[in-house]
Subunit: 384 residues, 2 copies
């Protein structure tokens, strides 16, 4: 269940020395067609890495033959030299595959502000091109890991004969804005780039965009969807979008589960909102509240911090109407105390927080993590 | 150097059993005149504690004879019963002082969502009224402490014969919006409430509003300024405002220094901004970035995280023009690496981060703290 699950894709993951550990650090995914339609969403951070700048241009025509991804360095804030490295990488892939450089997307992840070793990178491209196989997706998933403890993969096999496969990396700086982390999704459905784009934007809006592990938006986020058409089937666009949401949500939950140092996966369900935007704003305000996140780490069902957090938003609601339920126990009714805090069991890894704004019928779920000693440790010790 | 430094004020701090520790937990500050002009700024959190709701009304006429403050409970999200407790407290103070309840302001701080013990509180009011002295300000400063490790006080004695004194409490949930924490400032200058209001808004804008310890805005923040006029001197309003800024900034720096679990006090100087609002937005984005704050805890001069943070703002600048200097070492020039990271010494408690946006001549300073193991520990263990 990876990017080589759909027909029409080959992939590889190799070690070229970018990671000091010697682990796999370069992934290549190639669409062998017959189609080469593609779509991508990118970080909305204005500070954008060189591969983001490149890939935005390369995908403007809705076509891509290959995507090359390296860990071991983000190639962000590395100036002209850094951009040349990205360009040279795309050119090297293009030469290996006998395509144009504009058909090659590039992604990088790792430390910001340091130059990638171009020589090692280009040697890695040659090795990866040679290692391409029909089942190389698992190696590719491992080659894009940084602080990830496990590779993330997902798939959907449709009865109608088409399938979707995906890989993702991400463990910190998880607060995508219209994009996220590094994700490559493939499909053998026969869809043009416009359809892919619509489906991908809908799917990321409902999955990666609802994940806010630590409120910190990356400079390198990119989600890419490539279609080979090798199944010969053109699915109903709505069916395809639903399947894509499923694959993206599976990857998002894997990213949440692997968030650096986290001890709880928190699902914030906001309902009774006047609009979906309001529900997202309210959920995100709680997901970004360090006091609430530290309380969950301490197994403290501190609903006062939830109300203090949502009171900072512009969403439509009356603070004195709100209900708050934690792991099934309604601790706050109409902005006042309800069941005793000690009835709430916060020992399970997954914590469910329900917020009823009593102001409408819209809802949204935001995924986040608790704030732990290990989060502080990993992010004070790891220079990224 | 406290609220009884200016002439025309009496104060007391007593223990009435709201704190389980038995420490001082009720403060009373009384303006003996001849003037009773006053101004206040309140939290902009829409979730507002009962004493905030009361005090907003009570100060609407620009007059106040007394302010009563309790620690040991925030009286927030405690419903009708909680509001009655606040009202009864004001009535009790009014009776003791033979004034109207509308001339009495109320502040509370402590755990959200639990009822205050009204009987103990009212007994405390009687005891405090009896304990009022001309030098009771130090006791008042101690009585408003919660997780504070030290009382916070400040003063300004003007050559022209008037003075300003202040007390403050606050150690967490420090991200005021147009207000902050609990602060009481007194002056014997002869100023009307309109002048006090103008000066106070200017002073809080430049001091407490620039403090963002943990991005979490309280439900109980209130800064109150009371003038007795007992000096008989009406200062130039500009001079008074400058002195007030000085007192407020002193208190803000004391709050920062005492922030829960912090090991560094970070001063973020943003310059070269197109507007002051831009400078504040850029500074605040860094102050709220957990990855940057954890890096500082780890003595890691991680400027990539600074650029990733400011890239999420709407401020006018080109990320590839920005300079970043940490403790005097320019680690980033024009969005790329400059001096090596290891030249930066982050061992001192105070860290200076300079960000030059190269987009104008406006500037602002934001105060924050690092993200530490102790912050997580204190806020996972302390239910507030």
């Amino acid at each position: 269940m990876t990017v080589t699950t759909p027909a029409g894709f080959r992939a590889a993951g190799v070690a070229c020395g970018l990671k000091s550990s010697g682990g796999l650090d370069l992934a290549l995914v190639v669409n062998t067609g017959p189609l080469d339609s593609a779509a991508a969403v990118f970080t909305s951070n204005r500070a954008q890495a060189n591969p983001i700048i490149w890939s935005r241009q390369a995908i403007a025509d809705g076509r891509a033959r290959a995507i090359v991804l390296n860990s071991g360095g983000a190639n962000c804030f590395t100036g002209h030299q850094g951009f040349q490295t990205t360009h040279a990488t795309a050119e090297a892939v293009a030469e290996q595959l006998s395509v144009g450089a504009g058909e090659v997307l590039v992604c990088s992840t790792g430390l910001i502000g340091e130059q990638l070793d171009r020589e090692r990178l280009l040697a890695g491209v040659a090795a990866a091109a040679e290692a391409l196989t029909d089942d190389g997706g698992a190696d590719a998933a491992r080659a894009i890991m940084t602080t990830d403890s496990v590779p993330k993969t997902a798939e959907h096999r449709d009865d109608a004969g088409w399938s979707i496969g995906g890989i993702a990396k991400g463990a910190g700086m998880l607060a995508p804005g219209l994009a996220t982390m590094l994700v490559v999704i493939t499909t053998d459905a026969a869809l043009d780039s416009a359809a892919l784009d619509r489906s991908l934007r809908e799917a990321t809006r409902l999955s990666f965009d609802r994940l806010d592990s630590d409120g910190c938006m990356s400079t390198n986020d990119q989600v890419t969807l490539m279609a080979s058409g090798a199944s010969g089937v053109t699915p109903d666009e709505h069916d395809f979008t639903l399947a894509l949401v499923d694959v993206c949500m599976s990857l998002a939950l894997q990213l949440q589960r692997d968030a650096e140092g986290a001890s709880h996966d928190i699902q914030i369900h906001v309902r009774g909102a006047a609009s979906e935007d309001d529900a997202v704003e309210v959920g995100r305000s709680v997901a970004r509240n360090n006091l609430f996140k530290a309380a969950i780490f301490g197994n403290d069902p501190n609903w006062g911090r939830v109300l203090a957090a949502i009171g900072t938003t512009q969403a439509a609601f009356d603070p004195y109407d709100v209900d708050v339920t934690m792991n099934g126990v309604r601790v706050c009714t109409a902005g006042g105390p309800d069941r005793p805090r000690d009835e709430v069991d916060l020992s399970p890894r997954v914590v469910t927080l329900e917020i009823d704004l009593k102001s409408g019928s819209e809802a949204a779920m935001i995924l986040t993590n608790d704030l732990t000693h290990d989060y502080v440790h990993e992010n004070s010790a790891y220079s990224s």
